[in-house]
Symmetry: C2
Subunit: 283 residues, 2 copies
């Protein structure tokens, strides 16, 4: 894999980090950034995350071998329409979106047949926003999920996989539907719960926040637009996850009401054992 030029559409935490990582891995690759704010592009240039910043997305993708969508998933439809006719023949398009079913569907519908789309979800990032928090090793030791379809070009799939591997990620493949189903449980519901936990706190509790509370709710500080897009896009799966969580809570409430001390101990012990197996770090 050697891309002569790549385009990063949306130079925030993820896009900026991709630029910084590429700079290290393949210094001769030209990196074009697209954003709607010149200030962000200037910042990304200063940091060395991109070589050139453009506010015209069609111009930003022209001549690139790889185009990566790094804006909130809610913007993908317009973005794909705007770049469709400007992409170079054989160009590979991928993305970093946290939902995949609708993204893959849109890309396969909108992009012309002479370019190749491969859906990606690099599970890296943080609650921080903006290129100023970008770092070259953001992706290291995290997992990237690829969601090829029957229409996905196998060479393009291999190239995109190699690209994320070169950034230090582990890769795995899921169908887009399966991805969204699992991510509702492991990512979207946890985000929603963290926000709900913050939302119901009375003012008095803010002084009494312990490390446990702060860790459990850290993700709730994430970007509201980004997460609105994710939750709305994965609404059906998310509602199913919420419903299962509600059932689990109802089980606990019953045990509390019945004074079922041993039941609660067993339930906590099972969760503790499962959580311990997961360890402290991804992978």
């Amino acid at each position: 894999m050697a891309f002569g030029q790549i385009s990063i559409l949306g130079v925030g935490l993820l896009g900026g980090s991709i630029g910084l990582a590429m700079r290290k891995i393949q210094p001769d690759c030209r990196i074009i950034g697209y954003g709607h704010r010149q200030e962000t592009l200037d910042r990304a240039m200063q940091m060395g995350a991109i070589d050139q910043g453009l506010t015209n997305v069609a111009a930003a993708v022209a001549g690139s071998n790889l185009v990566i969508l790094c804006t909130p998933v809610g913007t993908f439809e317009n973005l794909l329409k705007e770049i469709a006719s400007a992409l170079a023949e054989g160009c590979i398009v991928t993305d970093v979106g946290s939902t995949k079913r609708s993204v893959v569907e849109l890309a396969e519908k909108i992009l012309p047949p002479n370019v190749h789309f491969v859906g990606s979800h690099p599970m890296a990032g943080s609650e921080k926003r903006g290129v100023e928090f970008a770092q070259a090793d953001l992706f290291r030791n995290a997992i990237c999920i690829l969601t090829p379809t029957a229409r996905t070009d196998s060479e393009a799939l291999k190239e995109v996989g190699t690209f994320w591997l070169s950034l230090g990620m582990g890769i795995c493949r899921l169908t887009a539907e399966n991805h969204d189903h699992i991510l509702a449980d492991v990512s979207h519901l946890p985000h929603l719960l963290a926000a709900a936990l913050v939302a119901i706190q009375p003012a008095e509790s803010s002084l009494l926040r312990g490390k446990g509370f702060l860790d459990a709710t850290r993700i709730a500080a994430g970007d509201a637009v980004l997460w609105r897009d994710i939750l709305m896009d994965n609404s059906k799966n998310l509602q199913h996850s919420i419903s299962r969580l509600q059932q689990e809570l109802q089980k606990i409430v019953s045990m509390l009401q019945n004074g079922d001390s041993e039941g609660i101990r067993q339930w906590l012990a099972d969760a503790a054992a499962r959580r311990e197996q997961l360890g402290a770090e991804p992978l």
Copy 2:
């Protein structure tokens, strides 16, 4: 404040850390540890957390100026009964329990009038268990909540406050009832939710755990017996917290079902703003 001898009942993460901290702050203080397993006491001795380890709790408190209960709150009733007649005249008794109403009630009922009880809840610790994880600075920059009652001796209250301050903690005072009410929201519900989040995960999600999920569920690895005691003891408040969380979830479900994109964005933005204000560290 200068205690000639203190007794730590239960030499685990918290008890061991108190010992190590006291060793630094007041090297001439004699530290007696009580535990039911000789092995743990030996380990605590080796680490320098205690000077002597005893498996007889009455013997362990004899002659001490300060006795700190560091076992799970469910054991406090028996422990208080066992030490009641062995405590030195004027001895101060405190604890590290995560619930306070029942603890204060028990202590004031069981302990003789010639000793002074002050309820404490140092909000420090981690999901780790055992004296091997003890550290002298565990309490630094965390908050300790004191829960005096009308019967609490004001000198003893001052001494206990000074003790936690000397370990690097901030202190604040609440009624025991208010403590339990607030902690249900800020600590007990978050623990329960973390465990529930782990409990509902399908097996496939374990590979796909991101940093967000791991942080959000870290506390679920906590000791099951310790947390069973806390959840059972604060059952009423906790049920109220669960019910408020369920209402919040219902609100989100309605917004998702109605496609209320702007409502969800606003809700997420409010939570993100509140969470950001809390910062990354306690205090």
